[in-house]
């Protein structure tokens, strides 16, 4: 019975990793840009929510709603001012610029909020749980998982049902032809990064409510997100969820065997998938 519980907890944890990964996947899908500062942007979002909560004294979910447009703005400006300049054939500039950005964000947060670990308080929700058959599920992990599914559905709808989504897909396929059709790739990219930052804010909300965070934890979140994207196969959001679940289950099972093996087990699962299915479980894009 303990194993069923472990695995279910792992699946729910996978929802969090899918949330981390969805923004990364979105940006990569549209402009082939891997943002090495993605994890740090999630942590930045968590601090933003924390600030709104402590200044206005409101519920974290409302605070996240306020943080979303701010994060959209940050993403939009970041893309317009910095990232659009480094897109192109050469992969080195975007990598090095986002790596630099990662270091800058970490140290700005360190300077602004100190190295003390923080937490977004969510009151009774933190400990609430429901009994489902033999296992007891926390309400917070369930909410996280449900949010991950909603985010993926919303992104898929956006991609395949709206004019903006059409512009995204067109620019992704061929920016030159898309611009002949009156689409400005630079603006499309800026909006895409803005939307990715909204997803980042949702990820940040759960990151902040579920556990302590400090300015240095971003890179580890980036690695989990990246592993989920690769396991799922580039370009598939549902695949990303599956990837997150695999990492999550590997981590909880690893932790059940030996608490020191939690993180290691997740990484090993990733390497095993890479060995067996180098292009991920549900590959769509060819890169």
């Amino acid at each position: 019975m303990i194993w069923i519980d472990t695995i279910v907890q792992g699946i729910l944890l996978g929802g969090l990793y899918a949330l981390f990964a969805a923004g990364l996947s979105l940006v990569f899908g549209i402009m082939r840009l891997v943002n090495l500062a993605h994890g740090d942007l999630i942590v930045l979002g968590a601090y933003l929510i924390l600030m709104v909560v402590s200044v206005l004294g409101i519920n974290p979910f409302l605070a996240a709603l306020i943080a979303m447009p701010l994060m959209f703005g940050i993403g939009w400006v970041l893309q317009r001012v910095v990232l659009n300049r480094v897109l192109g054939e050469d992969i080195l500039p975007p990598l090095l610029v986002t790596f630099g950005l990662s270091i800058v964000i970490q140290n700005v947060l360190l300077e602004g909020f100190s190295a003390d670990s923080q937490r977004v308080r969510a009151g009774a929700l933190e400990t609430a749980s429901v009994d489902v058959g033999p296992v007891t599920l926390g309400v917070m992990p369930l909410l996280t998982f449900a949010s991950a599914i909603l985010v993926i559905i919303a992104l898929n709808q956006l991609f395949y049902r709206t004019a903006l989504g059409r512009a995204f897909r067109a620019t992704s396929d061929d920016p030159v032809t898309a611009s002949l059709m009156g689409i400005k790739p630079a603006s499309v990219f800026a909006v895409a990064t803005g939307i990715a930052m909204i997803v980042v804010t949702i990820a940040a909300l759960y990151l902040g409510m579920r556990a302590n965070f400090d300015p240095t934890i971003g890179p580890a979140r980036l690695i989990y997100a990246f592993e989920a994207v690769i396991i799922g196969g580039l370009g598939s959001l549902w695949g990303t969820l599956a990837g997150g679940v695999i990492i999550g289950v590997a981590q909880t099972v690893g932790a059940a065997v030996n608490p020191e093996w939690q993180i290691l087990a997740g990484h090993v699962a990733f390497l095993v998938v890479l060995l067996i299915r180098p292009r991920g479980l549900f590959p769509r894009a060819y890169d």
Partner: protein, 356 residues
């Protein structure tokens, strides 16, 4: 130098000949530094030389091989732990164990390459990072070298080869003698690294490497095995980075997994050194490490501001001068201290005209 029909292929320039002479003078001074400089100067120079070595190998990977790794800390840490393991468990002299540091790094680099070469571009970068994390977490389980909390170098191992002789010769304490011996080793390693990479780039393999970097499809079409070049630079870099890691921790004489596998210390700094100095050149990392050291000395008291400025500077250089400081200098002056470009010179008929 190949001579056909009155033409010769040359890579040497006047600047490079002058640089060679200057380098020889500098080398004599550098070897003699412990005679007149303070212990803290020797330690600073050790730091500069080891960072320079790491930067040269990262530059070989990313600048010439097109392999942007964010996981070089795996090889620094492995090299360091191999040295500590060999001295603690087998009682091997740490200086001799430096070779093992490189070997250990290569032994892990082979399966690593097998995994990460399946990933392209940015995914390669994060793939190497994941492997480095796996190595760090695994080493933290190794209890006989202190597990997660680390360990110190045992007393016998601190009296490694050369320490007693230097202590007697310079009339200094053993701890200062250790700094001097490790400084000389770092100097030798840095020179071997720069010389070795320069030699490699001037050979046929170096030409293949540059061709594969500039245009992989075109390079393949003239018969270059791009994958083999990748393996070559990856394994060479792993070996060198491993030896440098062993040497760095021989000087520190204390190790822990979090420090030895630190992504900031052994990869972020190194990347900034190369980017700010100028990626894809041998001169770049040399300039970069000097700028890096100057910034660190100036801003050491400002903590996180230092890293913010370093990161910001890296971004600005990448955006506005992607070939770094050396790129700016060599564009303005045409200067090349380590020329690898092959130029055709006419040797016969017209004597004055040397530009073919």
């Amino acid at each position: 130098m190949i001579e056909t029909n009155g033409y010769t292929v040359q890579t040497r320039t006047r600047a490079s000949q002058l640089a060679g002479v200057a380098a020889l003078i500098l080398l004599v001074v550098a070897v003699a530094v412990p005679l007149f400089a303070s212990r803290s100067t020797v330690q600073d120079l050790f730091f500069i030389l080891t960072m320079l070595t790491l930067a040269q190998f990262w530059n070989l990977l990313a600048g010439y091989g097109g392999l942007v790794s964010v996981g070089q800390q795996a090889f620094v840490g492995l090299g360091a732990y191999a040295l500590f393991g060999a001295s603690i468990l087998w009682g091997l002299d740490p200086v001799a164990a430096l070779i093992l540091s490189g070997v250990a790094a290569v032994l892990v680099a082979v399966p690593t390459a097998f995994f990460v070469f399946r990933l392209q571009g940015a995914y390669f970068a994060i793939g190497t990072w994941v492997v480095a994390e796996v190595v760090r977490l695994s080493v933290a389980q190794w209890k006989s070298v202190g597990g997660g909390s680390g360990t110190g170098l045992p007393r016998e191992a601190r009296e490694f080869w050369g320490v007693e002789a230097v202590a007697g010769l310079f009339d200094v304490r053993d701890s200062a003698a250790r700094d001097i011996v490790t400084y000389w080793l770092a100097l030798a390693l840095a020179i071997l690294t720069i010389g070795g990479i320069y030699w490699l780039l001037r050979t046929k393999r170096g030409l293949a490497l540059a061709a594969a970097r500039d245009n992989i499809e075109a390079a393949k079409s003239v018969g270059i095995d791009a994958l083999r070049m990748k393996w070559l630079v990856f394994l060479v870099s792993a070996f060198g980075t491993g030896v440098a890691g062993g040497l760095i921790y021989l000087q520190k004489a204390r190790i822990s997994p979090d420090a030895a596998f630190s992504v900031t210390d052994w990869t972020a700094y190194v990347i900034f050194i190369v980017v700010i100095g100028g990626i894809g050149t041998i001169e770049g990392p040399i300039i970069g490490v000097l700028v890096f050291f100057a910034l660190q000395s100036l801003l050491a008291d400002f903590g996180s501001w230092y890293l913010m400025i370093l990161g910001g500077l890296g971004i600005i250089v990448m955006l506005f001068a992607p070939r770094g400081l050396w790129g700016l200098i060599s564009d303005r002056t045409g200067l090349q201290l380590f020329p690898i470009r092959r130029r055709l010179h006419r040797t016969h008929d017209k004597k004055g005209d040397t530009h073919g």
